[in-house]
């Protein structure tokens, strides 16, 4: 059995990570190689903090439970990211992206099954 706490950790990791990625994307358009500009780039700082925090949650979540359950939950993070990309950056939602997401979800589930076997 996979503890609910593990699932929650992985779910939260994906959710925070998706915001981290969105902040990093926002930061990337204003990048300048200058220490003051980098430290003053609020999006960059927020992105790094959230991205790092998400990996902490991810490691906690993966510590116990079945990988066949936890691995595909990682794909939920990609789903959020595609959603934020549409809302915040106006990136088109294509069949290729949705199909790709479904394939990755299935692939992660299968890989998780194979690893716990």
């Amino acid at each position: 059995m996979t503890p609910v706490s593990s699932m929650l950790y992985v779910f939260v990791a994906g959710f925070i990570g998706s915001f981290g990625a969105a902040f990093l994307k926002a930061a990337s358009s204003r990048l300048r190689l200058n220490m003051i500009a980098l430290l003053g780039n609020g999006h960059l700082i927020a992105g790094i903090v959230m991205y790092g925090l998400s990996s902490v949650f991810f490691v906690r979540g993966m510590a116990q439970g079945e990988l066949s359950v936890l691995y595909p939950m990682v794909a939920l993070g990609y789903m959020w990211t595609i959603l934020w990309s549409r809302i915040f950056f106006g990136e088109p939602l294509t069949w290729g992206k949705m199909g790709g997401l479904v394939l990755i979800f299935a692939g992660l589930a299968m890989l998780g099954l194979g690893r716990s076997a």
Binding site: A26, F89, E91, P92
Partner: protein
């Protein structure tokens, strides 16, 4: 302050400019995120290997271990480096096409674990790897064309 529909569009609301990337820039972005997954996988293997035998240390002990264990230090440095690569990749690529490519990390980790830790390969793992690679390929092809909903 908003005085009409002209200033309420997505761009002015979110105060960052969306610029159209050239096909070459998009390819470079995909190549960079591909590198991100490789570096990330290497980092994970080093971190896993370096963390073996540490048990469950406290937060401070973990910090000290990262600084004093060469494998952990290199692993986390690589992880930080991969984040820099990711930011550069995101600069010219679509977030929705770039970010899910990171799933490839799972593929490399599975292969590296088989090689370094002697994990058994099996049909399920190979099937999963195939599906993830196919999914990433579909994502790359799907970026920028054939929008589900025209806006």
């Amino acid at each position: 302050m908003c005085h009409g529909p002209a200033c309420c569009d997505r761009e002015s609301l979110l105060f960052w400019k969306l610029t159209e990337a050239t096909p070459a820039q998009k390819r470079f972005a995909i190549f960079l995120v591909f590198c991100v997954t490789l570096v990330n996988a290497g980092a994970q293997v080093l971190i896993k290997n370096g963390a073996n035998g540490l048990g469950h240390p406290s937060l401070i002990a973990t910090g000290i271990a990262i600084l004093t264990t060469p494998q952990l230090f290199v692993g986390y440095s690589l992880y930080a480096f991969s984040m820099v690569l990711l930011v550069v990749a995101l600069r010219h690529g679509e977030l929705s096409a770039i970010y899910p490519v990171i799933a490839l990390t799972f593929v490399w980790v599975t292969i590296l674990s088989a090689y370094f830790f002697g994990d058994q390969m099996n049909a399920l793992k190979l099937g999963g790897i195939t599906l993830i690679v196919a999914g990433v390929a579909a994502l790359g092809r799907g970026s920028g064309k054939g929008a589900v909903k025209k806006s």
